[in-house]
């Protein structure tokens, strides 16, 4: 990332550096050997102290009858986030996980993308370098997303993404899934955002690496805010009112779909239009499962992630028919969550039938439905 030199900051640095005193003499050999001797003494002291502590711990009087007989289990780190999934089959049902039960992301969930050098390609502006800092995860800040230049998806190319346009997580996900071999242009200004976003997008490290190999240096860009991230973060953290936030996971064949469902109060409707989700502004796109508020619904589907067990984006795109699921739901006139989810289940059922697979059926949806406005 190239920063324009800020003249005021440059002057500040000049001023500070100009205060530099003359350099000191190089420390002589005597000083150095004294330091080395001191270091050796300190090291020796530490080793002695450690040995003493070990002896005290091992001594019979220190443990008494409580001689350790059980070896402490090895610390293997927290389990990765696992949402309950359905086993595909005739008796499969849609499972429901209360948002408050979803554990926070673990370090394993955070993606590390290091040193993917950015570049310019013949077909337009492209991805900038990303680095994910796991220690900073959870803080959503600014993100530069320059748009998507899809190689094979005319739906994305037709007016939804342009260079420099702010696009949503759904678009990003669709872009990543449909354009692994194509070009992609996005830039994370602050790496804090990427872990949340990529985790939300359900991308594996392998997928990111695949993407990283295809990226090139971006040209001049502008920093933009992507408020959808904040919305998703708040959903993922269970900040929605009790009983209203829900994560639904279901399985179809080899595909897994995870939906984050939350109440929505759209200020307007349309793909890419801004929405207000319980106070958290966001944007919806056609590849984010959507709802139709025309009948006064206050419910909405916020996120949509589809992936295969091997986390292959290409497989997911071809086999899981992500866009198909999204479009199907969008085309329904669901006035409630129930309706939307029924429609989704119906779609899954029909898609599975077409593939001669056993489809999961929607037998029960123990959701707390928000009152229709």
């Amino acid at each position: 990332m190239t920063y324009t030199r800020d003249p005021e900051i440059a002057a500040l640095i000049d001023e500070v550096v100009s205060m530099a005193p003359p350099p000191p003499e190089l420390p002589n050999a005597r000083t150095r050997s004294r330091v080395r001797r001191r270091s050796t003494l300190v090291l020796g002291g530490v080793v002695l102290a450690g040995a003493l502590v070990a002896l005290l711990i091992a001594a019979p009087w220190s443990s008494g009858s409580r001689k350790p007989s059980i070896i402490a289990p090895a610390i293997t780190g927290p389990e990765p986030l696992q949402l309950p999934l359905l086993v595909p089959g005739p008796d499969a049902t849609i499972d429901r996980v209360d948002i408050n039960d979803v554990p926070p992301p673990t370090p394993q969930d955070v993606m590390y993308v290091q040193e993917y050098s950015a570049g310019t390609s013949e077909s337009g502006p492209h991805l900038e370098v990303m680095t994910v800092d796991s220690s900073a995860r959870g803080k959503v800040q600014t993100l530069e997303f320059l748009g998507c230049n899809p190689a094979g998806d005319p739906g994305l190319a037709a007016g939804h993404q342009h260079d420099g346009e702010i696009i949503s997580l759904g678009s990003l996900q669709a872009c990543l899934i449909t354009n692994v071999e194509g070009s992609l242009s996005l830039r994370w200004v602050d790496t804090d955002g990427i872990s949340v976003m990529l985790r939300s997008a359900g991308l594996s490290v392998d997928e990111l690496e695949t993407i990283g190999r295809g990226v090139r240096r971006s040209t001049g860009t502008q920093t933009v805010e992507v408020p959808l991230l904040r919305g998703l973060e708040e959903v993922a953290e269970g900040k929605l009112p009790d009983g209203l936030g829900t994560v639904i996971s279901f399985h179809q064949g080899t595909c897994t779909y995870d939906l984050v469902v939350g109440p929505a109060n759209p200020s307007s409707f349309g793909f890419g239009e801004p929405i207000d989700v319980n106070g958290a502004a966001g944007r919806l796109h056609e590849n984010v499962l959507n709802w139709n508020p025309a009948r006064g619904s206050t419910a909405g589907l916020l996120g949509h992630v589809g992936h295969t067990p091997d986390d292959s984006a290409t497989t997911a795109a071809t086999e899981c028919d992500l866009a198909g699921v999204a479009r199907q739901v969008i085309q329904t006139d669901g006035a409630t969550w129930q309706h939307t989810l029924d429609a989704l289940g119906d779609h899954v059922h029909r898609a599975s039938t077409a593939n001669n697979e056993q489809a999961p059926t929607v037998t029960s949806l123990p959701l707390t439905l928000p009152p229709a406005s």
Binding site: I9, P27, V35, E115
Partner: protein, 156 residues
């Protein structure tokens, strides 16, 4: 290429090291930091194997400055605690050192290497032994913080 002696390397880099240290800890402690860093470097067994000795020295100064910063902040806290009378610090004069004091040592190091030494992000990363992404992050945060302070100062 023949390896230079320690004295030669130091004599060619000393001014730069002191400038860097001045940016990191201020002029009053810069010499001490450089001296301590040099003692540490010359006593280290890895110094002889260092491929880029200049970068090694820069990194040593930054590390020493970080240690210095930690100990001096602890000392300052102790002194504040021990002080019975209320000391009202004069913060009305926002000079360059006070402004830079709002940044971490790493952020300062990145700023100085990029602004003063005209290094790009990649070479800054190599000099500091961190990733380019980390350099970009430090730079962005340093910019944001400084802009905030400078803008407030202007509006105050």
């Amino acid at each position: 290429m023949e390896r230079q002696s320690d004295a030669e390397i130091y004599s060619t880099s000393a001014k730069d090291l002191v400038r860097l240290a001045t940016g990191l800890v201020g002029p009053s402690d810069a010499q001490d930091v450089v001296s301590a860093a040099m003692v540490r470097v010359l006593s280290s067994s890895s110094w002889a194997r260092a491929r880029d000795q200049r970068a090694y020295l820069f990194r040593a100064v930054v590390n020493e400055a970080r240690m210095h910063q930690r100990s001096s902040s602890r000392r300052a806290a102790r002194e504040r605690k021990a002080s019975s009378s209320e000391v009202v610090e004069d913060l009305t004069t926002i000079d360059a050192l006070v402004v830079l004091d709002a940044l971490s040592v790493r952020q300062r190091a990145v700023l100085i290497l990029i602004y003063w030494y005209d290094q790009d992000q990649q070479s800054t990363a190599e000099m500091l032994g961190i990733t380019r992404g980390a350099v970009a992050r430090h730079l962005a945060r340093a910019h944001a913080r400084l802009r905030e302070i400078l803008d407030n100062d202007i509006h105050a």
